[in-house]
């Protein structure tokens, strides 16, 4: 295998891993955009998306296509119920209180999933076969193309939603200034509900499309959330395009680090890059400096 082929393979691997991180990062952004809080249960939405789809396809025996939508719907509902029961009842919560509540939610979801589905690791069949596609001597999996395609679609939809729809703009307004948003007649609490539902839905989509390559178990959410959170911060919290770019950046650094330096240090290399970028650009790659 020539060096050029190897390099290309590392890039493809990085894109595969990076797209997973990017999808998770998008979920963080939505709740941050409308409430200004970091939802630490985001990884659990991803896990639930994957696990519910596995349950629907293997136990209920629904076709994959139908399970996909049903699972997204269910997780959206779980996200909304979580907001209604845990976030909504607080009168004037501080950001830190809300974040702690999301940690509790994360533990609860993880425990629930463990009781329901056990501690085993599951997988889903790839959406369109497992036969790798050869590009200039390197391989790329069909599932990676699915992830890239779906992620692209989600990003476009989000940009459209936040820039051109009333609900999207209202959600953005809540993040900038809750009080002012309230004064101009935006129902802030309703927007918070929407944001939780939306980010749960995106988390679920991410969970479903990555399961065929990354496997899924009740405990998978936390690690994905950490990497996704890194991508969100690196891209600049709140910036969806930034999240995707940062996801790729972390993924590719990890894979190049594993390939050319040592696989033992790959997580460290990615985190050093994160720290370095934040040192020079505290707002992240595409972030707003005022936010930090």
């Amino acid at each position: 295998m020539s060096l050029g082929n190897q390099l290309l393979q590392y890039l493809f691997t990085g894109i595969t891993i990076g797209s997973i991180y990017g999808m998770v990062a998008l979920g963080f952004n939505i709740i941050y955009n409308s409430t200004g809080i970091i939802n630490l249960a985001q990884g659990e939405f991803v896990m639930l998306g994957g696990m519910i789809t596995i349950f629907l396809t293997t136990v209920v025996k629904l076709p994959l296509f139908l399970s996909f939508f049903l699972s997204v719907l269910l997780v959206t509902l779980i996200g909304a119920i979580f907001e209604r029961l845990a976030i909504h009842p607080l009168k004037s919560p501080s950001v830190i209180t809300l974040i702690i509540i999301t940690i509790a939610g994360s533990i609860l979801f993880k425990g629930g999933a463990m009781f329901l589905w056990g501690k085993e690791t599951f997988t889903l069949p790839s959406f369109s076969g497992e036969k790798p596609i050869f590009v200039l001597g390197a391989i790329i999996l069909p599932q990676t193309l699915w992830i890239l395609g779906i992620m692209g679609g989600v990003v476009l939809l989000l940009i459209f939603f936040f820039s051109f729809t009333r609900a999207g703009k209202a959600m953005k307004a809540c993040a900038v200034n809750r009080r002012a948003a309230n004064l101009v007649g935006i129902n802030v609490k309703l927007m918070v509900l929407f944001s939780f539902a939306l980010s749960a839905a995106i988390g679920a989509v991410a969970g479903i499309i990555i399961t065929p390559i990354a496997l899924m178990d009740y405990d998978r959410g936390t690690m994905l959330a950490i990497k996704g959170f890194c991508a969100a911060v690196l891209g600049g919290l709140g910036s969806n395009a930034g999240a995707v770019i940062a996801g790729f950046l972390i993924g590719i650094t990890e894979s190049l680090g594993a390939g050319f330096i040592s696989s033992g240090y790959k997580d460290a290399i990615a985190l050093v890059v994160l720290l370095a970028v934040l040192f020079f650009r505290p707002g992240g790659i595409l972030g707003n400096k005022e936010h930090t």
Partner: protein, 392 residues
């Protein structure tokens, strides 16, 4: 007439009262005769919840099943067996607390477990001081090397699995290998043994890669291996992520043989890797491929019995780990039956067990060897049509 009637009633009342008294007394006396002998208490500490629960759960199920069966058959020499199970959550501090409770409060005669090597090493000083036999279900060699008088273990040795793989490679003219290991305790211990024993067998390690337990893609590491002249890959891990390595390797179009460790011994892993797992080779205890074991093999009967009972009771596949607990508790029961409730005599008995047929192999303990198994406990297995079969 009236008086007589009244007296009659009194007599009736008194006799009724006496009747009840007699009955109560009788039942008490009978109960006294029937009262079972004092139960033999054995402690069991496993990682039933937490990250290592896939070890602890089958172990707990197994000891509970044995307890039920033994008691249904009248116990040990008439004494019922009482297994007191504690959960360590796979945590060293909790394991130490559980052992202290078992020793001081429950006053157990022996302890089986813990599940993990780390927790076992943490409780060794306590059982040594309290002089309680401990039969660990964890694999690390440090548990029994150097030998501690009160500590035994039932799983096979990692180094024996390495020897088994290297011997196979020598036979098939493979001398250059790439190793890819998990970063968990099991993986890094395996990496150490693989590197240590390679020169003895004339094997050169041409690539040495690692991966984390929650990693999602290992093509980067495998691409690096592909660029070397390795004749085979050894993938050493115990977590589900090892199935991704198997998949990625086939996706990259690598055709050199793949060897796995005994940590692959869970049929779920083969299912996860799907077709990519076909033909890979790994050493494991015989429990996993009991169906393809010849009828004449001395372990055949024990393995079949354990597998059938466990699977019909719990509705899930047996695992090697439950087997380790089976071996550990059966050893204790054997000792109790022979020498009774005396900790020192139990210890001496186990130390001199010769030819005990367990699920992990045939055990020969001695004062110098508290593992009791050698490399013959391993059989080379392969995956054929999604099933583990003995490699021919």
């Amino acid at each position: 007439m009236r008086k007589k009637m009244r007296r009659g009633r009194i007599i009736l009342g008194i006799s009724f009262f006496l009747l009840i008294l007699a009955r109560v007394l009788a039942s008490q006396i009978l109960a006294g005769e029937d009262k079972p002998l004092k139960p033999y208490k054995v402690g069991a500490i496993f990682a039933i919840t937490g990250a290592a629960s896939w070890l602890g759960e089958p172990e707990r199920n197994t000891v509970k099943m044995i307890e039920e069966e033994i008691n249904a058959l009248g116990g040990i020499n008439g004494h019922p067996l009482k297994v007191i199970v504690e959960d360590t959550v796979g945590d060293e501090t909790k394991a130490v607390m559980a052992v202290k409770k078992l020793i001081e409060k429950d006053k157990v005669l022996a302890i089986v477990g813990p599940s993990r090597s780390g927790t076992t090493l943490a409780v060794i000083p306590i059982v040594e001081r309290a002089k309680i036999p401990l039969i660990s279900c964890a694999a690390a060699e440090a548990i029994v090397a150097p030998v501690k008088p009160w500590v035994f273990k039932t799983p096979q040795k990692d180094s024996d699995a390495v020897v088994k793989i290297y011997e196979y490679m020598n036979k098939h003219q493979i001398s250059k290998v790439a190793i890819i290991t998990g970063t968990t305790g099991f993986g890094s211990e395996g990496r150490k043994q693989l590197k240590k024993l390679a020169p003895e067998f004339g094997i050169t390690i041409v690539a040495d890669e690692t991966y984390g337990p929650k990693d999602t893609d290992m093509t980067a590491q495998l691409t690096r291996i592909k660029a070397t002249d390795a004749q085979a890959v050894i993938n050493w891990s115990i977590v589900p992520a090892q199935a991704i390595v198997v998949k990625n390797m086939r996706q990259l179009g690598m055709t050199i043989p793949l060897f796995q460790s005994h940590g692959f011994g869970n049929i779920k892993y083969a299912e996860m890797a799907g077709e990519a797992a076909e033909g890979l080779i790994f050493p494991a205890g015989r429990l996993l491929a009991v169906d393809t074991l010849p009828e004449t093999h001395p372990q055949k009967e024990v393995l079949t019995r354990y597998k059938e009972r466990y699977e019909s009771k719990y509705g899930e596949n047996v695992s090697t780990f439950g087997g380790h607990a089976w071996d550990a508790l059966q050893l204790v029961i054997l000792a109790l039956r022979a020498v009774g409730p005396d900790r020192e005599r139990i210890r001496v008995f186990i130390e001199n067990v010769k030819g005990f047929v367990g699920t992990g192999g045939i055990f020969y303990y001695s004062p110098e060897d508290h593992t009791g198994l050698n490399k013959e406990a391993f059989e080379m297995l392969t995956v054929k049509k999604g099933k583990f079969v003995v490699l021919k």
